[in-house]
Symmetry: D3
Subunit: 69 residues, 6 copies
């Protein structure tokens, strides 16, 4: 499918832990993978981020939406 999210990462399911309402699924990311972030321009400046920098990307698991084409 075509969707309006900037990030579409291929991944293999490693484990599934089912709870009463919510479940936790773990994945191994398959390469190549690119990602994108939208933050305020103020934050870009305060973070002092520039091309070539190595950073980390924190993403809460509730924001990750698995899908099958």
């Amino acid at each position: 499918m075509k969707h309006g999210a900037r990030n579409s990462v291929k991944a293999k399911v490693k484990s599934i832990k089912k709870g009463d309402i919510m479940s936790l699924i773990k994945f191994e990311v398959m390469l190549p993978a690119d990602m994108a972030s939208v933050i305020t321009t103020e934050s870009v400046e305060e973070l002092g981020i520039k091309v070539g920098d190595e950073v980390k990307l924190a993403i809460k698991a509730v924001h990750v939406l698995p899908y099958k084409d």
Copy 2:
């Protein structure tokens, strides 16, 4: 830093496009990378997802938080 998000992905900044309020940053993910998702148990069942499946992960860019240790 230690944080309460399941996903902490190493990445290199490839481009930064600054707008008036929001900016878009693109990254190349560095390996190895694992990810996690929390969805409803109902969705796990309807999606019919199981260990070993290859899926895709959609993540809106506004949910990706870059940080530096």
Copy 3:
């Protein structure tokens, strides 16, 4: 109340399933209903979306906030 979200959908509660920490509530949407989405301009272009198109809107249940006036 007046709030700063673009989407304010009238709905009737159909079921409530309570879990230890989180609960899942289901609703029937009442008409008329309009919705709005904010995505990157890049995504608008890649998705090739235009006025009159029929699309689907995916929304994770954790992002839906019920309220009473």
Copy 4:
């Protein structure tokens, strides 16, 4: 496509307003439409929500992901 979000609402595009980084898209929801919300069980109790109640659902536009099958 099959995805792991509880909400998949059919909608017709009414307008698109493009900005430098982000764009705002408006939709008319097509019937029938059901929605789901996940909130804390504490909130269910404090809100005093029960089957048959009419409520409103606030959703920030940044959490709405349009897609085409």
Copy 5:
């Protein structure tokens, strides 16, 4: 209004910066203020968080919804 979010913080508007599509609003929080977070139980354990600890709470500005009663 009564809503289904755990966090309802009183605040005074300090500044508003309007952009083409999105705007950035800054607030001074008024006391007393309590907040709540829902994270995976796994993250609670890895973070080693316990009652009395001083931590910081990161919240992306797009997740903060101002409203008037």
Copy 6:
């Protein structure tokens, strides 16, 4: 750590309630605390918000990310 979120609130852990998959943590916010919100410019105008106004900020607990420096 330095991160790309506008909100970084100091807080003390008051309680932790662990569930099967998700846990709920409560905090007391420590002063001084400032917060920021990004909403659509349309919402700013409809909400009629201006400098000096007292408002409330609704934030779903799943969007609050605790971390330790």
